[in-house]
C-alpha cells in the first residue's frame, strides 16, 4: 500500500475510535446520541457525559498516543538506537519526582493543576540537565553522552522519588504508583488545550525535520557532508521531542510501550523514511492509545485498569507478532540489525594512529 493510503485509512481509524471511545463506557450510548450530544442537543445528562467526560478524554488519548509515538520515533533517529523511546532520557523520572512531591505535600488534593504542573516542571528540569551535560566544549551535542546522561539523570530522579515515597503515607504511595502507570481519567478541556498547545506545534516542526532525521540514521558525519546542519537538527529535535513527551507525561502520567512499539510497527509496515514514518506513527499511536483507553475503562467496569498495563498487555504480543513476521521474511534487515561497512570508523582510525606510534 502507498503511504497516502495508509494515512487515509489511519485518519479514518482515528475518527472511528474517537466515536467508539465516546460511545462505550459505564453507560453505553448509541451513535445517534453521541452525534446529538456533540451538536448540543438531546438529553442533558448524556450531553454532560459526552462533552465534559468522554470527549476530552478521547482527544487526550489521541494527542498523547500520537505525541509519544512521534517522539519515540524521533529519539530513535536522534540516538541512532532502536531501543530508544520517549522516556529514555530521564523525562519520566523527572516528571515522576515532581508528581510525587506534589502528592506528598498534599498540593495535588487541593489544587487540580498542581500535579500536572509539578510533573511538567520535573520533566523540564531533567531535559535541561541532560542537555547541559551532553553539550560539548564546542557547543555540539554528543548523542552518546546524551544517552548516558539521560539514563543517569533518570536514575537519579527515580532515587529522589523513591526517597520521598519512603517517607510518605500509604495513600500517597498508592496515588503515586497509580499515576506512574498512567491514566487518562483526569482529562478535562483545560488540560487538553494545554497539551494541544505543546503537541501540535512540536509535532508539525518535527515532521518538518523528517529529511535531516533520515540523514542522521546514516551517521552524523555523512549527514553533514550531505548539507545538513547536524548540530542544529540534534538540538531542535531533542528539545521538541522532549517537550512533546513532557506535556503528555504531565497530563496522563507515565504510559509505557506506546513510544517504543508504535514507531517500530510503522517502520515494519511502511519503511524507514521519516517523512512518511512520523505522520503515520502519530496517527497509529493515536488509534492505539484510544483503543487501549477503551479497554482500560470497560474491561473491569466500573473499575479502571491502569492504561500502562493495557498498552503492555496488548502492545507487546502485537509487536512480537510483527517482529516475528519481519524475521520470518528471511531478511537480516529487521529491527536492530546494524551494518558497519568497515571496522575502522574515524574513531577506529584515531586509535590506529595512536597505536602506530
Amino acid at each position: 500500500m502507498k503511504p497516502i493510503t495508509w494515512a487515509a485509512l489511519l485518519g479514518l481509524a482515528v475518527v472511528l475510535v474517537f466515536l467508539l471511545s465516546i460511545r462505550l463506557g459505564s453507560v453505553d450510548l448509541s451513535t445517534g446520541e453521541v452525534f446529538a450530544a456533540l451538536l448540543g442537543e438531546g438529553d442533558i445528562n448524556i450531553r454532560r457525559i459526552v462533552v465534559e467526560l468522554r470527549a476530552p478524554r478521547a482527544v487526550m488519548a489521541i494527542l498523547v498516543g500520537g505525541g509519544l509515538s512521534l517522539s519515540g520515533a524521533v529519539f530513535q533517529a536522534l540516538l541512532r538506537n532502536p531501543l530508544a523511546e520517549p522516556y529514555i532520557l530521564g523525562i519520566s523520572g523527572g516528571a515522576a519526582t515532581g508528581a510525587v512531591l506534589a502528592l506528598a505535600m498534599g498540593l495535588a488534593a487541593s489544587l487540580s493543576w498542581a500535579l500536572p504542573a509539578a510533573a511538567f516542571t520535573g520533566a523540564l528540569l531533567a531535559i535541561v540537565l541532560v542537555l547541559r551535560v551532553a553539550a560539548t566544549a564546542d557547543h555540539g551535542v554528543d548523542v552518546r553522552v546524551l544517552l548516558l546522561a539521560g539514563v543517569v539523570v533518570g536514575a537519579f530522579f527515580t532515587a529522589c522519588m523513591s526517597f520521598v515515597l519512603s517517607i510518605s503515607d500509604a495513600r500517597t504511595v498508592r496515588s503515586a504508583v497509580l499515576w506512574m502507570m498512567g491514566s487518562l481519567a483526569g482529562s478535562d478541556w483545560r488540560t487538553v488545550w494545554m497539551v494541544t498547545l505543546y503537541t501540535l506545534p512540536a509535532a508539525i516542526m518535527l515532521v518538518g525535520l523528517a529529511r535531516p532525521l533520515n540523514l542522521l540514521a546514516i551517521g552524523e558525519e555523512t549527514a553533514g557532508f550531505l548539507g545538513a546542519d547536524v548540530e542544529r537538527v540534534k538540538r531542535v529535535a531533542y528539545v521538541l521531542a522532549s517537550l512533546l513527551t513532557a506535556a503528555g507525561v504531565a497530563a496522563t502520567g507515565v504510559i509505557g510501550f506506546v513510544g517504543l512499539i508504535v514507531p517500530h510497527s510503522v517502520r515494519l509496515l511502511v519503511g524507514g523514511d521519516y517523512r512518511v514514518l512520523l505522520p503515520l506513527a502519530f496517527l497509529t499511536g493515536a488509534v492505539f492509545l484510544t483503543l487501549a483507553d477503551i479497554v482500560a475503562r470497560t474491561v473491569m467496569s466500573p473499575a479502571e485498569v491502569p492504561i500502562g498495563v493495557i498498552t503492555a498487555f496488548v502492545g507487546v504480543p502485537l509487536f512480537l507478532l510483527l517482529l516475528r513476521r519481519s524475521v520470518g521474511a528471511g531478511a537480516s534487515h529487521g529491527i536492530g540489525s546494524q551494518m558497519v561497512t568497515e571496522s575502522t570508523g574515524p574513531a577506529g582510525a584515531r586509535v590506529a594512529k595512536r597505536s602506530a606510534r
Binding site: V207, A217, I218, G227, G272, H333, T341, E342, A356
Partner: protein, 286 residues
C-alpha cells in the same frame, strides 16, 4: 606568497594555505602548515602512512574539522564562507565507513544525495530522479535498487556510496579509501569511473594506500608524512624510492613498469619489522 595566491585563485577547486589541525589532547598536530592546490578537473591522489593526516586533510578542506587554523578554500572562496547546503551541491564525499542505525535500501541511500537540492517536505522532481538513476547506472547498482544494504557485499556497498556522492551532481568528488575492501575488478571499475569523471571536468580528490594505482590514475600526487607535506607533484616526481622509504619507514624499490609505463613501487623485505613469537620448543630432547 606564491602558495597562498595559488590556492586563492578561482582556478583551484580545492586549496589549503598553512592549514593546521591539532585535536584536543593529541600530542602532536594532525596537520601542520599544509599548503596545497588541487587544480580544477584534476585527479588528485593523497598518499601517506596510517595516521599521516590524510582523512583529516579531507575534512579540513571542507571545513568539517573544529580547531583548524590556516585557510581552506573551495573555488577561491574560504570554505567557512560556504553555506553547508551549497557546499554539498559542489562537493560529494565518500568517507571510509559509515554505520546504519536502521535498515535502508540502495535506492533510498542514493536518493539521500539529493538532500542539498530539496526542501523540507518536497518530493523528488524529475531532475532529482534523473540524477539518482544516472548515478546508480554509473556505479552499476541499478539492479540492486530495492535491496537492503545489509544484504549487499562490501563492493556493492561501496559502489552504492559512490553513487550517492555522484547523485549530489558535484563538481568535486572527495573519497577516502573507497576501494580498500574491493577486489581487482571492482576497484578498477571505480578508479576508471573516477578517471573518466576527471576527464569530463570533475575534480577528484582520492585518498588511497595503493601506490601503483595512484601512479597510474593520478594527475598529481600528495605525500603526507606525520601531518606535513613530504612531496607534491606529478607521479614520477613524488614516487621516488628515497622519499617513500623515509616516509613509510620501510625499504622500497621503484622501477618502471613496462606494461603501464608508470612507476611501480615494490616494498622489499627488512630485518627490522615485527617478529612472530618464538616457536615453542616441541622436542625438548633434541
Amino acid at each position: 606568497m606564491s602558495e597562498s595566491s595559488a590556492s586563492n585563485d578561482g582556478s583551484a577547486a580545492l586549496g589549503a594555505t598553512k592549514l593546521r589541525v591539532h585535536y584536543l589532547n593529541a600530542p602532536a598536530p594532525a596537520l601542520d602548515s599544509v599548503s596545497i592546490t588541487v587544480p580544477r578537473g584534476s585527479f588528485y591522489v593523497v598518499l601517506g602512512p596510517n595516521g599521516s593526516g590524510k582523512s583529516t586533510l579531507l575534512r579540513a578542506l571542507l571545513g568539517m574539522v573544529p580547531h583548524a587554523a590556516g585557510q581552506a578554500h573551495m573555488f577561491g572562496r574560504p570554505v567557512s564562507d560556504w553555506d553547508r547546503r551549497a557546499l554539498a551541491r559542489e562537493a560529494g564525499v565518500v568517507t571510509q565507513s559509515e554505520s546504519l542505525a536502521f535498515p535502508i535500501t540502495v535506492r533510498e541511500l542514493v536518493a539521500m544525495g539529493r538532500y542539498p537540492y530539496l526542501g523540507a517536505l518536497q518530493s523528488e522532481t524529475p531532475s532529482d530522479k534523473e540524477a539518482i538513476s544516472n548515478a546508480m547506472r554509473m556505479c552499476d547498482v541499478e539492479n540492486l535498487a530495492q535491496r537492503f544494504l545489509s544484504t549487499l557485499s562490501g563492493g556493492e556497498i561501496q559502489r552504492t556510496r559512490v553513487a550517492r556522492a555522484l547523485a549530489q551532481e558535484p563538481n568535486v568528488l572527495l573519497l577516502d579509501e573507497p576501494t580498500a575492501s574491493l577486489d581487482v575488478r571492482h576497484e578498477m571499475e571505480i578508479l576508471e569511473l573516477l578517471r573518466a569523471s576527471a576527464d569530463h571536468g570533475m575534480t577528484v580528490f582520492l585518498i588511497t594506500h595503493h601506490l601503483d594505482l595512484a601512479a597510474r590514475f593520478a594527475d598529481r600526487l600528495l605525500l603526507l608524512d606525520r601531518g606535513r607535506v613530504a612531496a607534491e607533484g606529478e607521479p614520477q616526481e613524488v614516487l621516488q624510492g628515497e622519499t617513500l622509504e623515509r616516509v613509510y619507514e620501510w625499504p622500497i624499490s621503484v622501477s618502471n613498469d613496462p606494461a603501464t609505463g608508470v612507476p611501480r613501487v615494490t616494498p622489499l623485505s627488512t630485518s627490522s619489522g615485527l617478529r612472530p613469537p618464538p616457536a615453542p620448543d616441541q622436542d625438548p630432547d633434541s
